[in-house]
């Protein structure tokens, strides 16, 4: 070809293509009917919604494939509302697409930057105002203003002091004391060693104090203990920790040392405890040593012994704080 090769140019907005409804009135009427049908479907949906609310009792169930036996009241109420909303939308969009003008309009953008004159005037106003306030010159005003604003900003913080008590030793102590009986959770029944078979597990709480009829969740959140029975020869413990067991029965705090979930998953064959939150795995035979997962510390072990009636009791309180770590924890 002989003509000059130009760089590729912007061919401009493509020519407008007319829709069927633009040129053919029959098509336009058809589109109008379609929009009307869509809006009417919405009305049907609303009627279904109202009828469902009034007429369908709340305890009727219908079988729907994939969903199974579903509550009819809930299903038809929801379907009615969904249809009524959805078809208003479909109608409006179809109306816009087929009947409203679809000529693209081009509008020029304007620069955001203000004119140089506006900018100069702004700077002058700002500078004049600042000079009038005199902050720059009067440093005594500036400094005392800063002091007063800073102090008043701090005062609401003081009002928040009573949001809660100081931690104190709350995180360091539980309800377990020397002689506290272990009781089943739920049921509050004291436990004798012969109540547990080898391979058995028990969810345990400290017996309530005399006169107490109720445990708070905050107490349960520190006191929950897991009791596990193995054979004594299964243990791989040092002498002190072994003395905290009784005839193969060992007790650990159920509150995970990682982030506080209940570590209650006991695998009888491997003798591992698994926390379902983040999959920390603890070895019961080695005093809940961490085998896998993000927990950094073993679960605290509760020392056990028998009381005069033959029931399992704590020998002493936990030797370390239970639950997740915190700054003041020393180990």
């Amino acid at each position: 070809m002989a003509h000059e090769i130009e760089a590729i140019q912007d061919p401009g907005i493509p020519a407008h293509v007319h829709r069927k409804a633009d040129s053919d009135p029959k098509e336009a009427a058809k589109a109008e009917r379609q929009v009307a049908i869509l809006f009417s479907l919405s009305a049907v949906g609303t009627i279904l919604f109202i009828v469902s609310y009034i007429a369908i009792p709340q305890d009727v169930f219908v079988f729907v494939p994939i969903m199974g036996d579903t509550n009819a009241h809930q299903l038809f109420l929801g379907l009615g509302l969904a249809l009524s909303l959805f078809f208003i939308g479909m109608g409006a969009i179809h109306w816009a697409k087929t009947l409203m003008p679809d000529n693209e309009v081009t509008v020029q953008r304007h620069e955001f930057k203000s004119s140089d004159e506006d900018r100069k005037e702004f700077v002058k106003t700002a500078k004049d105002g600042a000079a009038a306030a005199g902050l720059g010159r009067r440093s005594l005003i500036k400094r005392s203003l800063g002091l007063s604003l800073g102090l008043v900003g701090l005062s609401p913080l003081l009002l928040l002091r009573d949001l809660g008590p100081l931690p104190g030793d709350s995180l360091l102590k539980t309800s377990w004391k020397a002689g506290t009986r272990l009781v089943t959770d739920p049921g509050d029944r004291p436990i004798k060693p012969e109540d547990l078979e080898v391979g058995a597990v028990a969810q345990v709480l400290p017996a309530m104090l005399p006169g107490q009829d109720h445990r708070s969740l905050s107490d349960i959140g520190k006191d929950a203990v897991l009791l596990i029975r193995l054979r004594p020869e299964d243990f791989n413990l040092d002498a002190e920790r072994l003395s905290w067991t009784h005839e193969g029965i060992i007790a650990f705090s159920k509150i995970c040392s990682h982030m506080g979930c209940a570590v209650a998953l006991y695998e009888q064959q491997t003798k591992h405890l698994l926390c379902p939150c983040h999959q920390s795995t603890f070895d019961v035979t080695r005093a809940a040593k961490v085998l896998f997962g993000p927990a950094a510390r073993p679960l605290p072990q509760l020392a056990l012994t028998l009381d005069a009636d033959g029931y399992l009791v704590a020998k002493q309180p936990f030797s370390e704080p239970v639950g997740p770590s915190f700054w003041e924890r020393s180990s």
Binding site: I93, A202, L265, Q268, P276
Partner: protein
């Protein structure tokens, strides 16, 4: 006495003494071993034990040992009781086919009569947990759904999930779903502690509490989809999957249609 001793060398003495001795031993033995019921039952039981033993030798001894003493890959069955056998064989877990992680519930290989025979045989080896009778398993009458739910969430949900759909354990093991499990098998699992599952002693979870747990499981199984399709009853994971696939898919589809030029 002098008169009797005159006949001590009589030739009828030996057979007579033999008859007396046999009668004496036989009587002593049958008196000593007499069961309260008639001997037909004892006969049937020993027949069942024998049948069970034959089944055991054929299908179980290759892993569990000729005398059920266990081996490298299978534990000893001495003392596991009839309940363990009824659970493991009755749910099809045993004989174990896939040895990789744990015994899976599958179609039982043995008929109920065969399972009963195996159970009787293993129970005869040493005392162990017994199969709970129907009277003990009347959970509709003796259990409480609400108490059962509390007990379930306290003792079972951490492995089997809040709706008994099952959950993962370590190293590829898992706690199976409890949907579609016979009440007797649920009870037996609690008292025998199969594989990774611990034992739930009767003093820790009383028989009545066990029935409540079973009643709650059955109620959860029968519970209809109250809010719509249950999405597996495993929590937010499937909910998020639905909104990222069907949910945003429908909306983007409508958006594409919205912006398309009409014909």
């Amino acid at each position: 006495m002098k008169r009797l001793s005159k006949y001590r060398r009589h030739r009828a003495v030996a057979p007579l003494l033999l008859i007396v001795a046999l009668l004496g031993i036989g009587t002593t033995f049958s008196v000593a071993s007499a069961t309260p019921n008639n001997s037909a039952l004892a006969l049937a039981r020993s027949a069942a034990i024998e049948e069970g033993k034959q089944l055991f030798l054929k299908g179980c001894s290759s892993c569990h040992g000729l005398n059920a003493e266990g081996g490298g890959i299978a534990p000893s069955l001495i003392g596991v009781g009839a309940a363990s056998v009824d659970f493991q064989v009755g749910t099809g877990r045993m004989p174990m086919a896939d040895m990789s992680t744990q015994a899976m519930r599958k179609k039982p290989v043995y008929t109920p009569e065969q399972v009963a025979a195996l159970a009787v045989y293993v129970a005869s080896l040493a005392p162990g947990p017994e199969i709970p009778g129907d009277e003990l398993l009347n959970y509709e009458r003796d259990g409480s759904v609400a108490e059962g739910g509390e007990l379930f969430r306290n003792n079972c949900a951490m492995c089997h999930n809040f709706a008994a759909q099952g959950g993962a354990l370590t190293q590829g093991k898992y706690a199976p779903t409890l949907m579609g499990v016979e009440p007797v098998h649920i009870y037996e699992a609690m008292i025998t502690g199969p594989q990774s599952m611990p034992v739930f002693s009767d003093k820790i979870i009383t028989p009545e509490e066990k029935l409540s747990i079973i009643k709650w499981i059955k109620s959860a199984e029968a519970e209809p989809a109250l809010g719509g399709a249950s999405l597996g009853r495993v929590g937010p994971v499937t909910e998020g999957l639905l909104v990222w696939t069907l949910g945003i898919g429908i909306l983007i589809g409508v958006a594409v249609w919205l912006a398309m030029k009409a014909r």
